[in-house]
Symmetry: C2
Subunit: 292 residues, 2 copies
Amino acid sequence: MRDFSQDHRWLSINTATVRKSRGEDLPLPRILAAIAERGIRAISPWRDQVAAAGLANVSKQVRALGLELSGYCRGGMFPAADAAGLRAARDDNRRAVDEAAELRAACLVLVVGGLPGALQGQAAHKDIALARTQVQDGIGELLEHARQAKMPVAIEPLHPMYAADRACVNTMEQALDICDALDPGRSGDLGVAVDVYHVWWDPKLQQQIARAGRERILAFHVCDWLTPTTDLLNDRGMPGDGVIDIPRIRGWVEAQGFAGYSEVEIFSTGNWWKRPHEEVLDTCIARHRTVV
Amino acid sequence: MRDFSQDHRWLSINTATVRKSRGEDLPLPRILAAIAERGIRAISPWRDQVAAAGLANVSKQVRALGLELSGYCRGGMFPAADAAGLRAARDDNRRAVDEAAELRAACLVLVVGGLPGALQGQAAHKDIALARTQVQDGIGELLEHARQAKMPVAIEPLHPMYAADRACVNTMEQALDICDALDPGRSGDLGVAVDVYHVWWDPKLQQQIARAGRERILAFHVCDWLTPTTDLLNDRGMPGDGVIDIPRIRGWVEAQGFAGYSEVEIFSTGNWWKRPHEEVLDTCIARHRTVV
């Protein structure tokens, strides 16, 4: 297991972590500047942040600052209530691959989607098995485009509390079953993003990380599970502030040969998004060196 | 699959569902009277409600009203930070078995506990594997006492969002692994409580219900998953108001031979606990007949 205590060369910042500073939206160019200033070498930006700043501008700034992308957030949201919706999802995912390629991301992260309409508060149906079929079909179709673009695709199993509205792939085992079905040759083109927040509870986690192996672990995300957690989406903790044994999970991932970035991804309306982003980034660096 | 549309003979009310009426605490004796008045034949009361009313009084009232207990809530909370804590949990669980026996419950439901201290906001450690070992050891020890009391014990896998503070048994598969280890003979003394709220998201649910079989399905609980869900604990929906395909899951359970009560268990600070309990109970009956 790598020693993170001496520097932060393997730290990446998911830009959602400093999406807001002092409660106000922080534009991506300012986020990137603050990250580079601190000697952080990698980021994972969100599509909406990139769109707001302009893809060409972001691409240029990323290269000028010498930043790498540990991932690009995000493709997915495959299930739809009708054929037009499925086509729209397919097209949007292809664009996401192309953007990720322009930004030279290590992978495109997929939040696969849940029951269509649920995120808007009104699910079109209750057939989660159908949604899961649409997800697998959608990934299969996207994979061809992604291979042409040489962009690896990482399925992110999301915590089961998001099964209805954000992602109906909820365990490593389920994600790896999809990988086995669509990429039996373990080409490295399809894998998983292991986010400790989503999978820490899973009694089969160690076993499934071993099953994933080096070829299928495309990203590693960290934050922490707070007790109590007061919001299902936006109450993630800074590493060290919760109950997740992050080093243990990182050890399992690295035992498979993963040698990429450890990406901090925190959504925190009530705490970290209220603070100055400078403080948040400095805290990420400190925690990366001590508790990750 | 049984037809519930003509009557509510297979409806049970978990008394937490009407723990409050019009926002005020409702004592168990009044809850039981209101339930019996409506021709509902079964309940599942909570220990704190029973303690407040007095076990002997409750036992007497239950028999006078001819009510059955589809379960007794709850034993569990096995993990502890030290030997004294483990002993206290063991003793308390034995008392829970004895109370359940006095009330002639169909089973004692176990919410097994998570990381010690997490429910109070400060976990004593982050070793969920250790907590799981303590859970299995605790159930194994309790099982001897429960067998003497002829009280079946039902492990309730809780939704993974409760892994830290309430229950580190989070899937049917995990619960059934414990059953296999402690009761390989499938005696019926140890099984699971299937609560759709906790397990609906699980891609292996149908498979694991089939694995459980008739001997190990000791209880069936219903409510619904709302989108959005605004609170991790107390924002459960009335059946029909959320995204869970309850009849599909009930079909799987009944295909194994389960022929017991369908127990409505709702915690709802923001909605149902604010309403008159009479309305809540009437709604439970209506939904039982139409969407369960």
